[in-house]
Symmetry: C2
Subunit: 345 residues, 2 copies
Amino acid sequence: MFNQEQLPYLLQKEHIAQLQKDSILIGDRRTFPFERSFVRCHDITSVADAIRAMVTQGGGPLQVALVSMKFLARQIARSIVPCTIETFDEAIRILSKARPTNTTMARTLTSFGVKLTAIEFDKRTIVEIVDNLVHMIEIDFDRQYDLMSDFGSSVITDQDGILTTCFAEHSFLLSLLKAKDQGKRFKVFVPETRPYLQGARLTAPSLVELGIETALVTDGMAGHLMANKIVNRYMTAADAVAMDGSIANKIGTLTNAVCALHFQIPYHAFAVSPDTSLHSCDDIVVELRDGNDIKRVMGTPITVEQVQGYYPAFDVIDATLITSIITGKGMFAPNQITHAYDEVT
Amino acid sequence: MFNQEQLPYLLQKEHIAQLQKDSILIGDRRTFPFERSFVRCHDITSVADAIRAMVTQGGGPLQVALVSMKFLARQIARSIVPCTIETFDEAIRILSKARPTNTTMARTLTSFGVKLTAIEFDKRTIVEIVDNLVHMIEIDFDRQYDLMSDFGSSVITDQDGILTTCFAEHSFLLSLLKAKDQGKRFKVFVPETRPYLQGARLTAPSLVELGIETALVTDGMAGHLMANKIVNRYMTAADAVAMDGSIANKIGTLTNAVCALHFQIPYHAFAVSPDTSLHSCDDIVVELRDGNDIKRVMGTPITVEQVQGYYPAFDVIDATLITSIITGKGMFAPNQITHAYDEVT
């Protein structure tokens, strides 16, 4: 198992979400790396609002949601909210709606809710019960990340040029760390990932923190990098995987995946498990965000007010464009992904 | 022939370059649309430096270079520089080196130099001679733009969604204006074109100025737009065309062209003429610019200092990715481009 201290600042649990006596602190990824600040939420609705406002993103909402369950247990123990399963069900419903495309948080919370329903609890036992359930979930995710990064590191070859997109979190970063420990030399090309610049702000600084050779590029450079054989591998996370092997991931991923196919470069996507409720790519809900976000960079306008912006937040990537989906159960060709089915524990 | 007043602010000749008594004013595209300012140059070396610093770009350097020839003629008339052909040859050499990828300026200046060599001139006649030569060149370019935009507008279909890249200047903007006059309805999707944001700053405001429906998108959205049938056509300028039908254009063009091929969408590139000195794509010189430019947006850092940036300024697009190259002589399949050969007059 990997060591938590190997992880970069952004992926350390206490920097994603912290439980306080009467609030939850959420690490603010919007201002990283220029500030290391937190947003304080006093109830579940404000946690959901913070997730919707991109205070945290990618794998962040999952950890925030787990801390939210521990927070609710303590609110029950202190008689602030009713000691019923509905208190959790309502919170799960509110949180799950905050990010429609990435279903990992929603599925994990649903599974948590099912387990909690089966357990008798009262005000004196709820904290211990919820903390134990959350602890088991965290251990399971860490185990999945460890397995995924074993597989991920195995496909990396010495002298690789690896393109990524957005912030591919534990599975990708641990794959790179393990490949580096195996003595492989490689360089990672990070598209800035407009409009929120997760590549420039989250991935590139984290890779530098891990001592991995990194170059920041713009979002349109995949063709150049692949045609000139500077990049020979494409690796991203997947925000959702459907049962037909298609995936959703940050806008820009489809464009790069099409280039990877054209230039005959493998594309590997990391996912804990497919979402059995998504039968095909048509079932993936793509979150449309405010088009005005395209017209600004970190708050500064880049065009005139009259121009309209268009901002689909995610791409759906057809199974035919993907070489393998890397899960904790192994690496699967997209049309074999049903074999990776594993109910989130 | 199109009317100069139809052109948006940026393409009006006096906003590209202005001849002053003892200097040349260059319209500063770096600060547009937020400022409408000019950079003043007192000699050819500082004009070349301004071009190199991206004060103007795309088709801008050509107009700046023509005004520079008129400026030199006046300096000769006032005995500030020697009255010899070498005065022009030296200036042509300095200016041509300022942008290695786009060869239109260099080829036009070379042709101008050849013509001037054949004419006897002295201090009293040089201004009229140069002004006449420049005037003939300007008329010829306007005629080419007019013909190119006749062809360009003819391929645009009612209800088109058109993707572009960077700032495709006269040929593209006039094509849109003519298609609009023909009663065709369409929408143009403009990638912001990082790092200098020519799409967001130059193209989108110019299209709004022309009353054309416009949406600003990020540089990674081609796949999304094409897969979802929001865009059904890709149109750009070409900074250079080689005799094998391959072209150079702003970085990001190759990525979008690959997506266009994958989604079976036509890609049209505008070019006045191929460069006969470029036998194949291997002869196209791609300008590498400062990687630090990727790490900033309009001066604001978007990542940590330790991250390295990589900035090839142009893409080379293989002939197999291009549907047609639109010149003043007609629309050519890339492998037929030698038929468009026309010595720049």
